[in-house]
């Protein structure tokens, strides 16, 4: 089974040189730590920056420089700053190659729910609805099941939807799965020490298993 860092490390393997990438809050933010430095990628922050750098040292801290999670950050050489309208222009315009975000539920046709639990939690959708409606490629980082053991990979989402038919790939604590355009979660890899049987039991939506399923390799 993978912890949060394990999920971030596995997602980092999906990154390719030349990509513009938007990382959501939480596990997706951690992915930045595991992208090989040899790879030329640009991280987009939807509050108006291309070229997110590492967290600042104490004397570099600038309250006028934060990421979408409101964390203090630095800028890489060659960064660009812009307004929120320009930022979502590049998102809606399909310029961002990869979007990595968290989810509470994903359905077998790629619907995602991650912004609201009616009556309990209302934080708002932020930029998630814009991102999922337009991104070229969406990878979701999530826990396969709730704390109570209920599957979060469902036939149909039970929570309010963030976007329809948009998730392409899921990296959970148990597995890596593709969401097929025709519907269904196609099992690609198992997390270390996790059996196919466990993944079957933890997946409520349609699970497609073809041949031997390898265990994922983490550096």
């Amino acid at each position: 089974m993978l912890d949060k860092i394990g999920i971030a490390k596995r997602i980092a393997q999906e990154v390719r040189s030349g990509m513009y990438i938007n990382l959501g809050i939480g596990i997706p933010t951690l992915v930045a730590n595991y992208i090989p430095t040899s790879m030329n990628v640009v991280l987009q922050s939807e509050n108006g920056l291309l070229g997110i750098g590492p967290f600042p040292t104490e004397d570099q801290v600038d309250p006028d420089l934060i990421n979408a999670g409101k964390q203090t950050i630095t800028m890489m050489p060659g960064s660009a700053l812009f307004s929120s309208a320009d930022s979502f222009g590049m998102i809606r315009g399909g310029k961002v190659n990869l979007t990595i975000l968290g989810a509470m539920e994903v359905s077998e046709n790629g619907d995602i729910a991650n912004w609201k639990v009616p009556g309990k939690m209302v934080k708002g959708m932020g930029g998630a609805m814009d991102l999922v409606a337009s991104a070229q490629n969406i990878i979701v980082a999530m826990q396969h099941c709730s704390k109570e053991g209920a599957s979060k990979l469902l036939k149909k989402c039970s929570l309010p939807i963030t976007g329809l038919n948009c998730v392409k790939k899921i990296v959970s604590d148990l597995a890596v799965l593709d969401v097929l355009p025709s519907g269904g979660f196609k099992l690609l890899e198992r997390a270390p020490g996790v059996s196919v049987e466990q993944i079957k039991n933890a997946t409520a939506g349609k699970l497609i298993i073809e041949g031997e399923i390898p265990e994922m390799k983490l550096a």
Partner: protein, 235 residues
């Protein structure tokens, strides 16, 4: 050049009436008009509708105006990090319209640019689409969204001149440039106010035509929500 200088936040906000619709710039606590928020708090106007990406935090930013119940309605994209907000929302004391962040930015931009409506893919098939017109363009479904405009737009910039030209710094730009365009009256507070001619026209982000009142703010706190330091990176 037209001189738009006012003395301070009190003078800039003095004619904001009860029930006004305000746009307030900023993302989280970054790039918020601290001086004007303090003046509105002091003035005690109420029944306000606030259009702002976030609602501040408990005890700072718009969070201050929520605590005193001066806000009747918030139009935002993300309101986490504010317990008082969540409490008023769940209890029904506060009216809240949650909008996808890009849609919010574009609705404000459209308001300033004279475009009454536009189509976006964000929110199709979600609660956000309820009661809204959809149309299919080239095989994809889009949602019609209306412009947003405000009685008063209140923005924060880094530098400005007395004719209202503005330059923002870092990610404190965020919603400020669009909001500056969408107010019947736009108030700009800046960290440094200079005479006309001292800013490079090549560097202006918001041309002065959009700004009606400008003043140099004082005592900026610039609170940080998540102070993250390099050696705190989890590796």
């Amino acid at each position: 050049m037209i001189d738009k200088r006012v003395l301070n936040a009190e003078e800039a906000t003095k004619d904001i009436p009860n029930g006004a619709t305000l746009m307030i710039g900023g993302f989280g606590l970054c790039g918020i008009p601290e001086n004007c928020i303090a003046a509105i708090l002091q003035k005690g106007v109420n029944d306000l509708t606030c259009i702002s990406n976030n609602a501040g935090v408990d005890g700072f930013g718009i969070g201050l105006l929520l605590k005193t119940k001066q806000v009747k309605k918030m139009i935002s994209s993300y309101v986490g990090e504010n317990a008082e907000f969540e409490r008023q929302l769940l209890s029904g004391e506060l009216e809240v319209e949650l909008i996808p962040q890009g849609t919010l930015a574009e609705r404000v931009r459209a308001g300033g640019a004279g475009i009454p409506a536009f189509f976006t893919p964000a929110g199709v098939g979600t609660e956000v689409a309820e009661g809204k017109e959809t149309r299919v363009f080239d095989g994809k479904t889009y949602l019609m969204e209306r412009w947003l405009r405000a009685d008063f737009s209140i923005v924060k910039a880094w530098k400005g001149d007395t004719s209202g030209n503005l330059i923002y710094k870092g990610t404190a730009r965020n919603f400020n440039p669009m909001m500056a365009t969408a107010g019947t009256i736009t108030i700009a507070e800046v960290e440094e106010l200079v005479e006309v001619g001292q800013l490079d026209p090549n560097q202006i982000h918001t041309p002065g035509i959009f700004v009606h009142r400008i003043f140099q703010g004082v005592n900026y706190e610039k609170r940080i929500e998540q102070r993250t330091i390099s050696n705190s990176v989890i590796r």
